[in-house]
């Protein structure tokens, strides 16, 4: 028996709730180290630069650049009808990297190094950060 596939939605944990609450409010929140000023993502308990545990949540500028990307032509499960779509790793200006979609662009406009800005895409009750070329 094959169950009909559904796209996964993020299930926040106590460590990540602040991030996903931010996305619902249209704000990209990341952590910042009070000791060395590094920004940190994924949400964690210790700074990955200096290992201090004094991390606080701040708003990211939501701006960054494409580190690398791919256009998915053959997707699986619930994502199959969406192909082709673009997945990228974006480095925020604050430093941290995240996996995301690049949306609303022509494939020929995509390139490593292009500037992007965050937007939020609704999926059921969640909002996923996605990026657009600027």
């Amino acid at each position: 028996m094959t169950s009909s596939p559904q796209k996964p939605v993020p299930v926040p944990t106590p460590d990540t709730k602040e991030f996903w609450d931010g996305c619902s409010q249209g704000i990209l929140r990341i952590q910042k180290c009070e000791d060395c000023s590094s920004h940190v993502f994924f949400p964690t308990l210790v700074c990955q630069e200096c290992h201090s545990d004094r991390l606080t949540w701040v708003s990211s500028s939501g701006l960054g650049e494409i580190k690398t990307f791919t256009v998915v032509h053959r997707a699986v499960g619930a994502f199959a009808p969406d192909a082709p779509y673009t997945i990228a790793i974006v480095a925020l200006d604050e430093g941290p990297q995240l996996m995301t979609y690049i949306v609303d662009q022509k494939e020929s406009d995509l390139a490593i190094g292009k500037r992007v800005a965050v937007a939020f895409e609704r999926r059921l009750d969640s909002y996923l950060p996605v990026f657009k070329l600027v």
Partner: protein, 390 residues
């Protein structure tokens, strides 16, 4: 670590039949492999003191090594189930060497087997593919596994001008080697055009840039260098090993064009007192073609950024500068999930014993295996050699 150089050896190696094995469960494949490897070592199953395995993806259990021991009817002094994906094979050989050298066990059998091709239901296969990546920060974007590696390929092309033709050349080489291996899952020869005209999966990776899905298992028997001299086959000594672990999730990688193979290679070469120039035959993890390019560079077989022209010149083909994956690798010999990397090592053992027939690298005396798990996550490098290399 350096004092482990040459103190242990592989004295038994065995591959099951691979490809589609609807007759065999993952446990069955493990048992077949142990039986074959123990016989190859001139030993009995009842002689086995240590047993190291990795879990099955198709039928996972909580105590996998104990399951295999129970099925074999043995009560080992040590059971260990290791989980570093494709890199598990290096980790298990290193842990086996440490266990033997410290006297925990006189010998260790390493076995891995799984039946991904025929054992998975469609739902299981989809669920398994969807489980790769961070559940909150990666999985919601629906990247199929090839897309993770396409991110790496795209970065390498951008940084160094690497082309799709050059990546295709890795698959062409693997398929040629597999055509010389009577047991390989896919034995047809490919051209660069065949690769480039196959379906685009995730730009720039085509279908033939991706590895197979197979059933199969393999096992190794290791013992001390002293005990190895009494075994019937030529002992293949462990000269060096190393690990490198930079990240678990690809989105957190500090580089998309350089990997933990740098650290694992440095450690393995240092321990073995060897350099890339000393290596006669290599087995490089090849789940997708661009991975081989990055490994060639990170291990020092060619300068950073020059792997594209390097493979285009035929350097990794039989008869080339450094023949890579003479069995055909994951791209064409077989890829039963985590056990896939075992065949990279059993092939080296056969090469160093001069047992490879048509695909034999003449006079091979030093072999290197570089294996990795996750998306460039968990790296391990092994250097192996015959007695003349100690």
């Amino acid at each position: 670590m350096d004092k482990l150089r040459g103190t242990t050896a592989i004295v038994g190696a065995f591959d099951t039949e691979v490809g589609k094995r609807p007759d065999a469960t993952s446990t069955h494949l493990c048992l077949e492999a142990v039986k074959g490897a123990v016989e190859d070592a001139g030993m009995k199953i009842s002689d086995v003191e240590g047993l190291i395995t990795c879990n099955s993806q198709v039928t996972p259990v909580t105590y996998h090594a104990e399951l295999i021991a129970e099925a074999l009817g043995i009560e080992p002094k040590m059971c260990l189930s290791v989980s570093t994906g494709g890199g598990t094979t290096v980790a298990t050989v290193a842990h086996a060497a440490a266990s033997i050298s410290t006297g925990m066990c006189k010998n260790v059998v390493i076995v891995k087997g799984d039946n991904l091709a025929t054992g998975f239901t469609k739902d299981q296969a989809l669920a398994s593919m969807a489980s790769v990546g961070h559940p909150q920060f990666e999985q919601p974007y629906g990247a199929p596994v090839p897309a993770f590696y396409a991110l790496i390929a795209q970065a390498h092309m951008h940084a160094y001008g690497t082309t799709s033709e050059q990546m295709a050349r890795v698959a062409v080489s693997a398929h040629y080697h597999a055509s010389l291996h009577p047991g390989a899952h896919k034995r047809e020869v490919l051209t660069v055009d065949d690769v480039l005209s196959s379906k685009m999966i995730a730009d720039p990776l085509h279908l033939y840039d991706c590895s197979l899905v197979s059933d199969g298992g393999a096992a190794l028997v290791m013992t001390s260098a002293d005990a190895a001299k009494d075994r019937p086959k030529k002992p293949i000594y462990l000269l060096g090993f190393g690990e490198g672990h930079r990240n678990e999730h690809i989105s957190q990688a500090r580089s998309f064009t350089e990997s933990g193979a740098v650290e694992s290679g440095e450690s393995a070469f240092k321990m073995s007192k060897m350099t890339p120039e000393d290596v006669d035959v290599a087995s490089l993890y090849d789940c997708f073609t661009p991975v081989v390019l990055i490994e060639l560079e990170d291990l020092g077989f060619c300068p950073k950024g020059e792997s594209g022209p390097f493979v285009e010149d035929g350097s990794i083909d039989l008869g080339g500068k450094i023949p890579v994956n003479t069995h055909g690798g994951l791209l064409s010999h077989c890829h039963p999930g985590n056990p896939g990397s075992m065949f990279h090592v059993t092939e080296l053992v056969k090469q160093l014993r001069n047992e490879c027939g048509e695909r034999q690298v003449k006079g091979a005396s030093v072999g290197l295996a570089h294996l990795q798990g996750g998306i460039l996550s968990s790296h391990g490098t092994l250097l192996l050699g015959g007695e003349e290399t100690i």
